[in-house]
Amino acid sequence: MILKQQLVPIVLTVISVVIIYLALQLKLSPPMIVGDSMQPRAFPIFLMVLNLILTAILAIQFFKTPPEQPEPLTRATWMSMMLMVVFYGLTVSADMFIAISVVMFLMSLVWGERRILVAIANAVLTPLLIFLLFDMVLRIRFPRGIITNWYYG
């Protein structure tokens, strides 16, 4: 129970300690460069010590008034996060615009859209319009992939 109640302070403490450890691994700069100023590691360490103090205050607050437990994540939320992973995989392996279209289509279905044709139209037309806007008006070149290779030649 206490572990559940103090989950946030525990996670914050772990993050702060890891960052302090990483900061301690940073190289030291020669004194003649640093001069009267501070070493590059000093500021992040100071911040994380401050965070540890604030986290301790938060933990005490949680002991006094236990925080409300958040509602379990819905299926749509889990699926939306999974779709971000799918987006990464498809962008790296195929094409950014194929990835956007696939994710948009699946996201529409996951979020409750039952009209398949509407979902397909949204998934195809939106990225196409945005692509044309960025390519023709803003002159942005997108990463190479199946579609962009064909378009750019």
């Binding site: 604030l54 859209e113 070149r141 990463p143």
Partner: protein
Amino acid sequence: MLEALSALGSVLFDPYLLFLIFVTTIIGIVIGVLPGLGATTGAALLLPFTLTMNPVHAIAVLATIYVSATFAGSITAILINTPGTSAAAATTFDGFPLAQRGEAGRALGIAVMSSTFGGIFSVIVLCFAAPLLARVAYEFRPPEYFALTIFGLSMLASISSGGAVKNLIGGVFGVWLSTIGAERVTAIERFMFGNYELYEGLSFVPVMIGLFAMSELLVQSRLANSAVEFVKLKAVSLPSMEDYKKIWKTVLRSSGIGTFIGILPAEGATVASMIGYSEAKRWSKNKDEFGKGAIEGIAGAESANNAATGGAMVPTMVLGIPGSGTTAIILVGLMVHGLRPGPYLFTEQVTAVYQIFGSMFVANIMFLLMGLYAAKLFARISLIPIAILWPIVFALSVIGAYALNSSLLDVWIVLIFGVIGFLARRFGFAVAPIAVGLILGKMVEVNLQNSLKIFEGAWWQIFTQPLAVFFLFLAFLGLCGPQLFKLVTSGAYSKRK
């Protein structure tokens, strides 16, 4: 002064700028009426589109989004009891009951007139207050700037929902994010993990898009398959003379309150509207009507939240300290377009600054016209199914983030910070402090380093500078004031007992 006036007037003779303000006002209202998509998310999504514009046009676009989306939140607040933006939450208290009584048009009329007055009032204050504050800020040296940024960060304690401690933890985390990349003086790489795209540090824009837009997408996924109740609207009518007589004092008072709260670093339209509403109730002769459709309640909340937009631009442009989540993005916009926020903006870029102020003025007039003549149409937009809307937000977010530096790393940053922002919000942490911390982080570190150099390593010398001590005292008051006040009042109470 003459230069400033001619710059203000020049907005009216720049047809392209007027066209941009017109189009952006429509986009801002659309963004504002869509629940979940507020001014901050809208500005984050539109920022990449401004890359090819000249700096004045770009900032005018972002400022227009800010004012129009802040107003538009009231449309859905009145018609479907769902504030389009958090700043319109107080408008639901009386707006929706009035709409349920069949007076939706009157409620919208009051909202649009009050918003316009509040917005214009704050732009006028902005035009006078900003140069005055800039004149004071000329005197600031690194110790004063260091103390000022600490004051700005201390105000994060009350920036939004979530407790003060949680907001401060978010702010400190944001400041730490600013240390990623090569250190300025020694060029020692910090927390880059061998990724040289991070050499210059984390780009602000993808972090903002991730924290605001992508995390909101995950929050909204909870509402998949939900339905909304919509109140029928016949037409938007202008308030009657009787209504004006009833609300003019409230509008004036709330405009002042909203502008003042907006000027305070890290305070924004949401706080302003709540205080504007409660003050309207406190001074009203008809307190019983509040919560049942009091027009003073709508006027108080709406004039205050729009007045906060102009107020929030004061610390953003003069001191480089954002007054709200949206102004944090406007600040990023200023930097991306090479306009250095700070007092020197008012000597080096006077024309640009006043053109931006002028654009905000015009934007207020534009949303007045659109609010009066097209509110019904805009209200319909709020009925777009979220299963169609949010996939579009996803596409805009990832493409917009990529467009900034043509870097896929920025796209991954959007996704990572989307999840971080979502988890933070899930456990009661607001994301705005993280964003503001990231923006102010560099200022804090650089000014601390420079102060140490000035004082030859004797950091305590900072406390010998009167202005620095003043800001640090304000920061102390901001952090410990409420607790001290509680202690003092509880002590006095127990004594009396």
